[in-house]
Symmetry: C2
Amino acid sequence: MLEDVVRALGHATLGSRLRRLGERLQADAQDLTGILTGKDLPSPHHTVLAALNRNGPLNIGDLAASLGQSQPGVTRMIGKMKAAGLVTAETAPTDKRVSTIHLTKEGTARITELEALHWPAVEAAVADLCGQIDGSLLDQLSALETLLTEKSLKQRVLEAQEPETKP
Amino acid sequence: MLEDVVRALGHATLGSRLRRLGERLQADAQDLTGILTGKDLPSPHHTVLAALNRNGPLNIGDLAASLGQSQPGVTRMIGKMKAAGLVTAETAPTDKRVSTIHLTKEGTARITELEALHWPAVEAAVADLCGQIDGSLLDQLSALETLLTEKSLKQRVLEAQEPETKP
DNA sequence: TACATTTAAATACCAAGTTATATATCTCGT
DNA sequence: ACGAGATATATAACTTGGTATTTAAATGTA
């Protein structure tokens, strides 16, 4: 069995490690979207929809700030979401530079589905995982990695769903 | 002040949050490489060099396993590192499919620099940060984000270096 | 009012990761 | 020894992120 180098290097490679674990969780969560809501929705779209749903229409800059991402990244993501029919952009009447992003009917429907079906399930599964771990950040990351290797987030969520549908 | 949506959604968006924080730490750590060793070295190259230094020559597949990444990703990264003169690939005599990756003199020099100058500094700064936080994973992530917003990892490392160079 | 500065978004380019597939080589059973 | 299947790596196509720069509009100041 080969050593996990990123893990072995400890604090010095914490960035790589957080990123790697984050990608793994995101991929599982995205997979679950398709299974739970019947429609696929890329993970980064989730947070954009949530931001618009929580705050109402936002311009690109505010969206970037509330997501903690760069403006060009958000511009491109919004381009894709417009193409997917999830949002529309309107030029602000008072300032033609500003484009205000609104949820479409479809976008609203998807975020409603996410709130009803996806987030509660993921929230519960991840909260359950997090409830099993404690200690230092590195200890918790190690424990989380181990738990997820034993059984993926996806499996955990699906197993938690079964009892509701069977009886 | 706009709400941080990823943070607000809690466990449901833990993946995005870990990834975002990881990218931030990685970017800062990479920046420090240039400052501390005088030469720039992309963050993903660090872990590859470390893996080869710890284990000796490795083939692509084992490298991928020890880094926890996909094989094609490692193949491409090795391509760049070959171009940068950090590693060489040798076809294994017993099996022509296998390519064994070796550190070059330059690669060995760079990992030695990293071990001497970069990792101890980053390890100390991150360990110090982690020593200031406790509680649940989400609590620790929130605390870490707050600490890093107050003062970046880069600043922390550089301030820790100054006392050594001044007196 | 005109011009310089600032600001919001878009664009261009690049890095790094993924999955799916192709290619080359090896191994094993007949 | 030959062909089927397994295995190691490479390639292709795509996703998502970033920084630096450009464009267009607004602002403010001489």
